[in-house]
């Protein structure tokens, strides 16, 4: 069995997982919003890509941008009309977002019909190194996800906006006193997180078909990755994704595809139990 290949594939799996989880690292990790509609944001991104790329025949990168814009708008609407009034009430947030997820699924079903849709992979061909084969598509996804990670990190830690975001998440009332328009920051932060998630949707759409219910699995995996890595830390999310991604590949030796997933779930549950703060702990008092 070609272990090297498995590890490489693991990297690509991790990278798409990282991509999907990145948005959640912001909405859940930083804003502490339990967004059960995270998967549906991915789905919206995927459908936007389908509409722009497959139907309207525009180039793929345009579709990616469109996916960002559309989901960012959806996110903004969610924040403005629902989440805003629920801050500090995680359980209510969780319920509301579940309601939203049902609605989004149905809306998409009405707009695009029930049948599954396809987004054509923008890149074909494979790279062969010795006995390892990597599709250029997956190579692209790896690079892209790393870029997205860096971009997000840059925005959060090197820009005024990012600084504001972190200030607000640290101490809301204080920020209010400092004259920061917190509600505006919340709006922007959430729709930014949503937008990234939409981009992730555009990317994963190239690996699979596009369907109204495609989001659920991604939603769960993203939460696992974020929590495993350490809530509120981008590095943590990256690490979480890599662990889960690699595990899901390498553990197939042990229990096959299904066994691998079961083992991962058990592992993550145990980690949450003993380190709720995740593998990467933010030092704070």
């Amino acid at each position: 069995m070609n272990v090297m290949q498995q590890i490489v594939d693991g990297v690509s799996v991790s990278s798409s997982l990282l991509l999907v989880a990145l948005g959640l690292a912001i909405t859940f990790g930083i804003m502490k919003i339990i967004n059960l509609a995270h998967g549906e944001l991915i789905m919206v991104g995927a459908y936007t890509t389908y509409a722009v790329n497959t139907v309207a025949k525009l180039p793929f990168f345009v579709a990616v941008i469109a996916a960002f814009v559309v989901t960012a708008i959806v996110g903004a609407l969610m924040e403005r009309f629902v989440l805003r009034s629920l801050y500090g009430r995680p359980m209510e947030t969780l319920l509301a977002t579940f309601g939203i997820s049902i609605m989004l699924q149905q809306i998409v079903r009405i707009l695009f019909g029930a049948t599954n849709k396809a987004v054509i992979s923008p890149i074909s061909g494979t790279l062969t190194l010795g006995n390892i084969v990597i599709p250029y598509l997956r190579l692209f996804i790896i690079v892209f996800s790393i870029l997205m990670l860096l971009l997000t990190a840059y925005i959060l830690f090197r820009t005024k906006f990012g600084m504001l975001v972190r200030t607000v998440s640290q101490n809301r009332s204080m920020s209010d006193c400092l004259g920061i328009n917190t509600s505006r920051i919340d709006l922007l932060t959430f729709s930014f997180g949503a937008g990234i998630t939409g981009v992730a949707g555009a990317i994963v759409a190239t690996l699979r078909n596009v369907s109204p219910t495609m989001g659920i699995e991604y939603m769960i995996d993203s939460f696992l990755a974020v929590v495993l890595g350490g809530v509120g830390s981008l590095v943590g999310t990256a690490i979480g994704s890599v662990i889960i991604g690699e595990a899901s590949q390498l553990l197939t030796f042990v229990g096959g595809e299904i066994g691998a997933r079961i083992i991962i779930f058990v592992l993550v549950i145990i980690v949450i139990r003993f380190r709720p703060e995740g593998i990467i702990k933010l030092e704070s008092r």
Binding site: E92, I100, I102, Q106, R273
Partner: protein, 345 residues
Amino acid sequence: MKQLWKNHTVSLLLLLYLALTPMFSNAFGVELTGKFIVLMIFAIALDLVWGYAGLLSLGHAVFFGLGGYMLALSYSLQKGVPSFMARFQITEIPLFMKPLTSIPMAFVLGLVLPSVIAFVIGYFIFKSKVSGVYFSLITLALAKLFEMIAINNQAYTGGFNGLMGLPRFPIGGKPMELDSYYYLVLAIAVVVYLFAHWLMNSRFGKIVKSIRENEPRIAFLGYNVAHYKIFVFVISGFISGLAGMLYVPMNGFFSPNEIGLALSTMIVVYVAIGGRGTIIGPAIGAFLINLLQNELSEQYPAFWQLLLGLIIVLVVLFFPKGIYGTLQEKLGAWLAQFRLRREGK
């Protein structure tokens, strides 16, 4: 008597309606309502954990499912090795499933196993610093996990297809009439309701509530919070398992859907919409949503999904206490004013 009426108006009205159903509705209607009642019991079970102790479990179907599977499996084992086993060259019932060949034993297991699992999970989680949303996330993962396990071990669980063709109501040997089974379920529902009511108005219930209200404080009053959480979780698991078992004959069929995410989240919705922390509220939520779904999903399938989502969002935004909770509040306030005016004169 008057007191009883005053405190339980809604519950009594609902009970009256349910008790009369078999008289004015056909077999289909009765079975449907029976199914609703089972879900009401399940909703009450979740309410104990979420509504009172403030622990939002997103994986409660695990207990419902365990209970159901015990009975469903037992039924399928009655005629020797079932086809779903035979298909995997299993020629005789494996040792660890032997106990299930006896239906009474299955009943016992259907109550014990969920409780035990609930205890293990509870002990595992509540003896740690895990709390709030992390508890919810763990239970979410658990629901997914059990779903996968049920699907994965198809040689023993019937896998993705589930267990079907289950005899209808063979409670104790020979089949039971639909109506009599319906009333049995209803009776159990009443008992569960009364039990939950007693439990949550006992000192225990008050302590559980104060855990929800202010966990650190109750510890400073000398209570071992973990024990209380575990206990209420186990009770809830037990009732969920019971509901799961009652569901099997009503449905004639049991599948991984009943142990996984889908049901777990739906039951949370029932409780939230009905009004958590009120015992009867969640039951009403379960009843109304299912009634609506059954009426609307056929005429407007697409529309129904939208409406359900919308209802959830609106309730969360405008009736955080749920339908019953809000009614209770408004009525209470109104009555108070009314009395004041009376006294004023």
